[in-house]
């Protein structure tokens, strides 16, 4: 009985629930309480990880065969992700403490941050499927509250998120029910269902849908960009960018590795691989043409999930480890990117790429952290994004070599999709870096200042982590990920070798040589800098800006792609919109029947009586 397992779950949940209903005047109190509780949860999570295995059991409900136990246990995978999740919680709390933008409903904001932290801890520690589901929905509901604390139109985004995740949660509940009838228990560590007949496959697909919707993969991904556009930045950094990914991928690994025994040669891995590859490419294609910084980042948040799913779909040790490592890395750099985006928005008052520019000199710390994170997400060695993508690529190759399913036969397709996606990611971050930090600064942004330390600190910490996890990638793998997944460590699991420290040293030497050359050149000849001569005509500064928004216009106006982009803009491929339309038609038909004419209602009653009579008479004979 390890009661320490209860603390990171129930203290934040209880405190958060109370905060929700307090009057919103006491904002400083909320801040202090949230910081203390999130730190406490973090400390607990570190202790849990360092103590290793442990469990807590409390039998709550027993109705026949249906048993509900509060069963928490510190499994290796869960407790390792827990530490990082709680760490992100602390960083986000820190970031929102000093935020200059007023938070409209601070009681709900801080309350639901704590609910999210507690719910996430519950998901990661729970060893009982129903409790996992309960905590899962608590996180969903608090995401709704968090998004709705944003500004205008956030009610729309919040509704969309809750509706879409709610659909997948309903599927989750159904899947849990089916798994229970198949396995006879809710205890996760006791379940292992073979996916050979229809029912387990349906259950697998339902649980998978829940996992990938939370993580933000296609086809139910559209809540992420909607939220990204309207929600407060810190919310996006905490949930869709970091925590929801951790939770969704945690559940996916749990499903694939523990709840179900997947046949490597069966069709299910192909389904996963298709989802992964499609998510990578399509989301990044959409991201490239976005004009809103936060929306662009959100589409990348969708795209990166594809790598994790693809890695897990390979079912090879290196692939799964790569997927989990990518989840961690993505949480780090995506969180950093969202925080940078938020800092830019806060400093300038806009997230529209066309109205930004030249902030590199004005916000150097933001620029440096954004640069590192952007390079990392694009998979530039030796940063962390490269290390995990490299493992995913190896997993895909290994899948092609060792497995015989249709999906394994198509491994070159997955590999190309993944690499292509990586290239496009780089392309779209070139656009961001150019239009936000490098190009000429518009007049409106002349007085922009760097954001305060409480906001730069989380960004810098995350940027440093990007470098550390990239250069010394073997550390996290060896300490956390391999033990968590039960993979025996050794060089054998890697096909290609990659010595990051040597590469880093060489890169640094290269950079040093380049800087030296510049320095020497500067000495060799003094350069005279004069304004550009424009035939005497005076050019307004704002006219001389080359915005990055038009970088990839050629792609979006190509035949075929143009129509696709148009349809995407209008929401034709959005299951939320299409589902809404179907619902409206059904409702419309039913409402049309209710004409308000009394004789019609009376006819229904009479016919209903006749039907009841017929049923009963038929039942007797």
């Amino acid at each position: 009985m390890d009661t320490i397992l209860l603390y990171p779950v129930f203290i934040p949940l209880a405190v958060g629930f109370v905060l929700l209903f307090l009057p919103r005047r006491a904002t400083p109190l909320f801040k202090a309480v949230t910081l203390v509780v999130s730190l406490l949860a973090f400390v607990c999570s570190v202790l849990i990880l360092s103590r290793g295995e442990g469990s807590y059991h409390w039998s709550i409900l027993e109705l026949g065969a249906f048993r509900l136990d509060l069963l928490l246990s510190a499994a290796p995978l869960g407790s390792f992700i827990l530490m990082f999740a709680m760490g992100f919680g602390v960083l986000i709390t820190l970031y929102s403490l000093n935020s200059r933008a007023p938070i409209a409903r601070s009681n709900e904001y801080y309350g639901s941050i704590l609910l999210t932290i507690g719910g996430a801890a519950g998901i990661l520690l729970s060893n009982h499927l129903l409790f996992l589901l309960i905590f899962w929905e608590i996180v969903t509901a608090s995401l709704y509250i968090l998004i709705s604390t944003g500004g205008k139109s956030s009610n729309f985004a919040a509704t969309k998120s809750f509706a879409m995740i709610g659909v997948s949660d309903a599927g989750f509940l159904l899947g849990v029910g089916i798994v229970w009838t198949l396995a006879g228990t809710f205890v996760i560590s006791d379940i292992s269902v073979a996916t050979t007949s229809a029912l387990p496959i349906i259950a697998f697909l339902l649980l998978m849908l829940a996992a990938i919707t939370k993580a933000g993969a296609m086809p139910l991904h559209t809540w992420v960009p909607a939220g990204g556009e309207y929600a407060p930045t810190s919310v996006m950094a905490l949930l869709p960018a970091a925590l929801d990914k951790l939770l969704g991928i945690y559940l996916l690994v749990l499903i694939v590795k523990s709840l179900f025994t997947l046949d490597p040669n069966g069709p299910l891995t192909t389904v996963l691989a298709v989802i992964g590859a499609a998510t990578i490419v399509i989301a990044v294609m959409i991201a490239m043409v976005q004009h809103n910084l936060k929306k662009l980042l959100s589409y990348h948040a969708v795209s990166q999930v594809g790598y994790m799913i693809l890695g897990i779909a390979t079912l090879t040790p290196v692939g799964i480890a790569g997927g989990v490592f990518h989840m961690l890395n993505n949480a780090i750099y995506k969180c950093c990117l969202f925080l940078c985006g938020g800092a830019v928005e806060e400093a300038t008052g806009t997230a529209d790429l066309e109205r930004l520019g030249g902030l590199g000199a004005k916000m150097p710390l933001t620029f440096i952290s954004c640069l590192i994170a952007a390079l990392s997400i694009s998979g530039i060695p030796p940063l962390n994004g490269f290390a995990s993508k490299w493992m995913v690529y190896q997993g895909v190759v290994q899948m092609g070599q060792t497995q015989s399913s249709a999906g394994a036969g198509l491994w070159p397709v997955w590999l190309v999709a993944a690499m292509f996606g990586s290239a496009l990611t780089l392309a779209s971050f070139v656009k961001i870096l150019h239009s936000v930090f490098l190009s000429r600064s518009p007049d409106a942004l002349r007085d922009v200042k760097e954001v305060p330390w409480a906001q730069t600190l989380p960004m810098l910490v995350l940027a440093c982590l990007c470098v550390v996890f990239g250069v010394f990638y073997e550390g996290p793998l060896r300490w956390f990920i391999f033990p968590a997944l039960g993979i025996t460590d050794g060089p054998a699991i890697f096909i290609g070798s990659w010595n990051s420290i040597l590469a880093t040293v060489l890169l640094l030497i290269g950079v040093g040589v380049g800087v030296g050359v510049l320095w020497i050149a500067a000495f060799a000849k003094k350069v005279r800098i004069v304004p550009t001569w424009t035939c005497g005509e005076i050019q307004r500064n704002d006219d001389m800006i080359i915005p990055g928004t038009h970088f990839y216009k050629t792609i979006s106006s190509m035949g075929g792609l143009k129509q696709m982009y148009g349809g995407q803009e209008r929401g034709y491929f959005d299951l939320y919109n299409q589902g809404g339309r179907v619902g409206l038609v059904l409702t419309g038909m039913l409402r049309w029947l209710h004409t308000g004419v009394l004789p019609m209602y009376l006819t229904w009653v009479t016919l209903g009586l006749l039907v009841v009579l017929l049923c009963l008479v038929a039942g007797i004979w």
Partner: protein, 504 residues
């Protein structure tokens, strides 16, 4: 403690006849008395939990006399009725100030409460009919209380359909008497058990199902509900949706089917079919509504469908001689959902009343951003919506979970799919409510909106606390074994639970 059962009926009935005599001057006193009566009934109902009792009216023992029976099922319903009526009465204290003739309103309200209490306590079917008519007639009058176009229209339609249902039920009672020679439930159950069923009884049963089904607003007998519930004053809507359709419809139906006629496979499927039709049609219809209260009314149809589905599943499993624990789980889910729905739907109607009082409209497209102006109303609505949409740890989640588990346990996966799909519909409709009413921008003409004060807030806050804590009813073993388990066993014991009352 032994409770004198007629108190449940006599106290509100006497108050109902006394109150109209109070004039304009004594209005506060009348309000106070009415509130005290409902509070007294609440105390009485809580005290009566766990003490099954039989009261023989006038000292005449059955089958000669009339008896009142308090068993597990009745006490669950009594609790629901008294909790909701206490909250609605408290809400009315301030809310009904906008209407004239408040003492008449209070009198009708108490008459309705007396009728409902009588229905759930009655031990013979003719008295059940009489009390049902008392409650129904009071509710017809209350629906038309505003005397405007829509109120009168709704009241007339409700009354026509309700009277036809009453005629069905009376006809059924007559047929049962013709075939069994008794009106007492115990003796009827015994007679039917001995002689089996025949054409007359089958006709009676289908008349009962249609009649009580109409009172419970099951599809296709539901058409009056979306007109009547929104048109009534908000506390009355809360009473109608919260308890009236349950006491008059679901309770009577369950009592007759399980304890008098006995379950059969055909009956089980019929109930499952009615439940599914109500769930799906009600859910889809609610999503398209823009009138706040009309949306809630359609959602009531959908939620009653859950209750009937749970009971029907239980009946089906009992008739198929499946594992008794499976049937008990389904019935537990249904009854727990009934109790939950009583609380959260009445709370939702109260919040809609609070919003209507503050803004003067029920049209959701004309609202927005009220959350900042009316924090208590919003919090109450949020708790109730989370509960009805099935967000854990609120009680609606547990009842739906139990229903899903009961369905998959029995192998009816498609029923589980329907339950979950309608839960998603419910979630979406309440997201719509919050999106248009409480979130977003405050429209220009509502800039001066203020939160309501006084008894309105107390009623909502009290019911919110009850709603948030309802989950304990199933999670805490001692509460479950004193409230829900006896109610479930009344139904799972089938005709046994009636016939044991027969005099030796």
């Amino acid at each position: 403690m032994n409770i004198p059962l007629p108190m449940f009926v006599v106290v509100p009935l006497v108050a109902a006849f006394v109150l109209p005599a109070f004039g304009r001057r004594l209005k506060p006193l009348a309000t106070l008395i009415a509130n005290l009566v409902t509070l007294f009934l609440l105390v009485l109902a809580v005290a009566s939990v766990g003490t099954p009792a039989v009261y023989e009216v006038g000292g005449w023992s059955i089958p000669l006399g009339i008896n009142m029976v308090l068993d597990g099922l009745s006490s669950l319903l009594l609790l629901a009725i008294s909790v909701v009526s206490a909250a609605a009465m408290l809400f009315s204290a301030r809310y009904m100030e906008q209407y004239t003739a408040k003492p008449k309103y209070l009198s009708l309200f108490l008459l309705m409460v007396a009728g409902m209490n009588g229905v759930v306590l009655s031990g013979d079917i003719f008295n059940l009919y009489v009390f049902l008519e008392i409650a129904s007639i009071a509710s017809y009058a209350l629906v038309g209380f505003g005397c405007e176009h829509e109120e009168l229209e709704a009241s007339f339609k409700y009354m026509v359909l309700g009277s036809i249902a009453s005629a069905f039920i009376l006809f059924g009672v007559a047929l049962v008497y013709a075939n069994t020679g008794s009106l007492n439930m115990a003796y009827i159950a015994d007679a039917i058990g001995r002689m089996g069923t025949n054409v007359g009884l089958t006709l009676a049963l289908s008349l009962f199902i249609a009649g009580f089904g109409l009172k419970a607003a099951l599809v296709p007998f539901h058409a009056w509900l979306p007109d009547a519930h929104p048109s009534a004053p908000a506390p009355i809507s809360a009473m109608l949706s919260g308890v009236l359709i349950k006491a008059l419809g679901v309770y009577a139906l369950a009592r007759l089917i399980f304890n008098l006629f006995g379950v059969s496979v055909a009956l089980g499927w019929l109930l499952v079919g009615l439940g599914l039709a109500s769930m799906i049609a009600g859910g889809l219809l609610a999503i398209g509504q823009w009138d706040f209260k009309r949306l809630l009314a359609y959602s009531s149809i959908s939620q009653i469908g859950y209750v009937i589905l749970g009971l029907g599943l239980g009946a089906l499993l009992m008739a198929q001689n499946a594992n008794p624990a499976w049937a008990a789980l389904a019935i537990l889910g249904g009854l727990f959902h009934l109790a939950n729905h009583a609380v959260y739907k009445s709370l939702l109607f109260l919040t809609s009343g609070s919003v209507e009082l503050a803004t003067g409209t029920r049209e959701m497209r004309k609202m927005g951003g009220l959350g900042d102006r009316m924090p208590v109303t919003r919090a109450a609505c949020a708790v109730a919506s989370a509960s009805i949409a099935g967000v854990p740890p609120f009680p609606g989640f547990w009842s739906k979970l139990i229903l899903v588990i009961a369905a998959v346990q029995a192998g009816f996966y498609w029923i589980a799919v329907a339950i979950v799909a309608v839960a998603v519909c419910t979630l979406i409709m309440y997201l719509k409510v919050h999106r248009y009413v409480f979130l977003g921008e405050l429209p220009p003409d509502l800039q001066t909106v203020r939160e309501n004060k006084g008894s309105i807030l107390f009623a909502m806050a009290g019911l919110t606390c009850v709603c948030a804590l309802m989950g304990l009813l199933v999670l805490v073993p001692s509460l479950r074994s004193s409230v829900l388990d006896p109610a479930v066993s009344v139904l799972t014991d089938g005709v046994q639970s009636s016939t044991h009352l027969m005099s030796p």
